[in-house]
């Protein structure tokens, strides 16, 4: 007759089983024990240094192999949303030699590099299918020319530097601003420039005075001094006066609107002479 093993659990085993069935042991049974077992196996295996090194070597080789597959390798770059000059400068700054493995492209670093360019507002880089690196760029649009002491630069609508130009003549379509701190008030300049449409053919530029208010400079040495606040309204009044009564056609050197309650006109030399003679 076959003798059977005693199916009864030992007292210790019985107690252990009951301990494991406690509700508080449930998370341990589900996560703790597998994790401990796995960690033990891995650490036992990794005790030997040679094994560790061979594993690292194997992994890096695998990485290279996968990166150089024809399906994955990056062959070209496309720049979207940038003018040809900007695209050229982006290519120059990135200076990637194609073909390149996608593992060797650090998109975050490259994006930073592209965004470091002045003319780029925002950039995003993607590796798309068929090995194309796409650089999508929001280019900054210059809206004003800022002449400072040593250079002439283009500013975008937030007052950020876009590019340096040799002289104001290279962008005659944009308004000229000058003075320290002019770049910080570009939105206001744009509004003033818009309001000044009727006198735009006489407009020379805007000067920021004391980093707080604007002077509008016209040809023939005329200028309009605007207040710190509500400059747009003040300029609007001046323009209306000019349209209605040809204010600026007369011999007036300065229209001083700094105090809008009490505007002052400074006459030109001829007008003063005429006044005295009369």
């Amino acid at each position: 007759m076959r003798t059977m093993k005693d199916p009864a659990p030992s007292r210790l085993e019985y107690r252990m089983k009951r301990l494991m069935l406690r509700p508080s042991m449930r998370p341990f049974r589900r996560f703790g024990m597998p994790v401990i077992a796995l960690a033990t196996l891995v650490s036992l295996w990794a005790v030997d240094e040679g094994r560790r090194e061979s594993a690292v070597a194997f992994l890096s080789e695998l990485r290279n192999e996968v990166g150089e597959r024809p399906e994955l390798i990056v062959r070209m770059m496309i720049v979207e949303g940038a003018s040809p000059e900007l695209a050229a400068s982006i290519r120059k700054s990135l200076s990637i030699e194609f073909p390149v493995s996608p593992f060797n492209l650090r998109l975050a670093d490259l994006t930073e590099k592209v965004q470091a360019l002045d003319a780029v507002a925002h950039a995003s880089l993607q590796v798309r299918s068929r090995g194309v690196l796409v650089v999508e760029v929001d280019e900054r649009v210059p809206v004003a020319v800022w002449r400072s002491d040593d250079s002439v630069v283009l500013l975008d609508k937030t007052g950020y530097r876009v590019a340096t130009v040799p002289s104001r003549v290279s962008r005659p379509d944009l308004p000229l601003v000058a003075g320290l701190g002019a770049d910080a008030a570009i939105p206001e300049v744009l509004q003033l420039y818009y309001v000044a449409r009727p006198i735009r053919d006489r407009l020379r530029g805007f000067i920021r005075v004391g980093e707080r208010r604007w002077d509008v400079v016209l040809d023939r040495g005329q200028s309009i001094k605007l207040p710190e606040t509500q400059a747009v309204t003040a300029l609007k009044k001046v323009v209306e006066l000019d349209v209605a009564q040809d204010l600026l056609e007369r011999d007036i050197s300065v229209v001083d609107f700094r105090n809008s309650q009490r505007p002052v006109l400074r006459l030109g030399q001829t007008a003063i002479g005429t006044l005295h003679d009369g």
Binding site: A8, R11, Y14, K17, L21
Partner: protein, 445 residues
């Protein structure tokens, strides 16, 4: 005397209430041939309406079986634990397997024992109702007033259930509370068993780090699960034919009114076969379960059973017997068991009951043809009683052998009132210390 059972049984009742609150309880049927363990989830507010087909039956909608295990019993003879260490190991096996199936730890156990020479007593008590309307304290008084006979120093009270209340000539009351009357009387059924086997069983369970939450007689609980409600109401006897003992319980008006046990069972049949055919016990057991029967027909002479398949040696000897021979061995023993049952039933006055229904259950009742044999010995109304269907019970444990385990789970979900469920009246509790103090004063001063 009264105080002791109160204390023990109350402690077990407190454990049962703790288990109810926790919602998980195990039932353990320690029999002579097998140990069955069921783990139940008790759900007080389980919505019966969700389960179509199961209505408000005997309370089986209140729980669900989530774990079941059976193992071969060891160290148990005649339903009594003899070798504690072996029995403890068997209980551990069953409990651990059931816990594994349930994926849930269980701390409280209700157990049932089949041995211990149960004896039942009918007690009667009578008191005057204090204030017109019967209150709970009156019920406690009348239960306490039952004079408990001298049932022996080495015996333990297993059940003491009030079965009938009489209020001024109105008999058959199940709940006399809030009724108006003068004189309240009660009938109580008390069941005692030997202290040693019960204590051994409790000890084994304790050794398995489990708490006893109740103790019941197995013939009683198999009656709960094997008898249908009408039978319990009108009167019926449940014969739980186990491995080492055959339990008898008589029900009337939904209460057990008598219980007894015959120390004969299925293992004796196996013994006879082993001796008769000279085969090992396990082969005999196998022959009995596969080919056994008690009613021989002409065909059984030609039905040869190979019995040498697993026994060693004895080459050339006759190793096939006819089924008729097997029946010839089994039938006298089964008849003897049933005769013994008949004697006990006669002694209990079973023939005076309004209904004479007899329900056979237990593992030994699976012998084919036993119902017709029993009908000849015990009376015409005999049927085989399968245990009630309860939720979650695996198919493997729905047989007649598991009626006491199922009945115990029904009892766990719907406990029967026992006399210790009522508060012991004050005068009873106070009487003894006071008397003792007076006695001490008298003798010393």
């Amino acid at each position: 005397m009264m105080g002791d059972i109160y204390r023990n049984q109350r402690a077990m009742r407190a454990m049962r209430q703790t288990a109810m609150q926790r919602g998980v309880i195990a039932v353990l049927d320690v029999g002579t041939s097998k140990i069955a363990c069921l783990i139940l989830v008790l759900e007080e507010n389980m919505d019966a309406a969700n389960d179509e087909g199961i209505g408000n039956l005997a309370g089986q909608e209140k729980f669900r079986v989530i774990g079941a295990a059976t193992t071969r019993s060891r160290g148990v003879e005649f339903g009594e634990t003899m070798v504690l260490r072996e029995t403890e190991r068997a209980i551990r096996t069953a409990v651990q397997a059931a816990q594994k199936m349930a994926q849930c730890r269980v701390d409280h156990v209700m157990a049932c024992a089949s041995g211990g020479r149960p004896r039942s007593y009918g007690l009667a008590g009578q008191v005057q109702v204090e204030r017109e309307i019967v209150t709970e304290s009156d019920v406690a008084h009348v239960l306490a007033s039952c004079d408990i006979p001298d049932y022996g120093a080495d015996r333990e009270i297993l059940h003491a259930q009030p079965v009938n209340f009489v209020l001024d000539h109105r008999s058959g009351l199940t709940d006399p509370r809030n009724q108006i009357g003068q004189r309240l009387a009660c009938d109580m059924h008390m069941l005692t068993a030997d202290r040693a086997p019960i204590g051994n069983l409790v000890h084994c369970v304790r050794r398995c780090d489990l708490e006893m939450a109740g103790l019941a007689m197995s013939s009683y609980v198999s009656g709960i699960s094997a008898l249908v409600e009408d039978e319990q109401e009108l009167g019926a006897a449940c014969i739980d034919m186990g491995g080492g003992t055959t339990g008898i319980s008589i029900f009337l008006k939904r209460h057990m009114i008598y219980a007894d046990a015959v120390r004969l069972g299925g293992e004796h049949v196996t013994h006879d076969i082993a001796m008769g055919f000279k085969v090992p016990m396990n082969v005999a057991e196998r022959i009995k379960t596969f080919h056994g029967g008690v009613v021989a027909t002409g065909m059984d002479d030609r039905d040869m059973i190979e019995i040498d398949r697993e026994s060693e040696s004895w080459d050339g000897e006759r190793r096939a017997v006819s089924r008729a021979e097997l029946i010839g061995i089994m039938r006298p023993r089964v008849e003897e068991i049933l005769e013994a049952v008949r004697e006990r039933l006669d002694a209990a006055g079973f023939e005076h009951l309004p209904s004479q229904q007899i329900v056979l259950t237990g593992g030994a009742s699976q012998v084919p043809g036993i119902d017709s044999l029993a009908a000849r010995i015990l009376g015409q109304q005999v049927r085989i009683g399968h245990p009630l269907r309860v939720r979650g019970l695996p198919q493997a444990v729905t047989g007649t052998a598991f009626s006491s385990a199922v009945g115990l789970s029904l009892l766990a979900a719907h406990p029967q009132d026992e006399c210790w469920d009522f508060e012991l009246p004050y005068d009873f509790r106070a009487a003894r210390p006071l008397k003792r103090a007076v006695k001490w004063f008298r003798t010393n001063w």
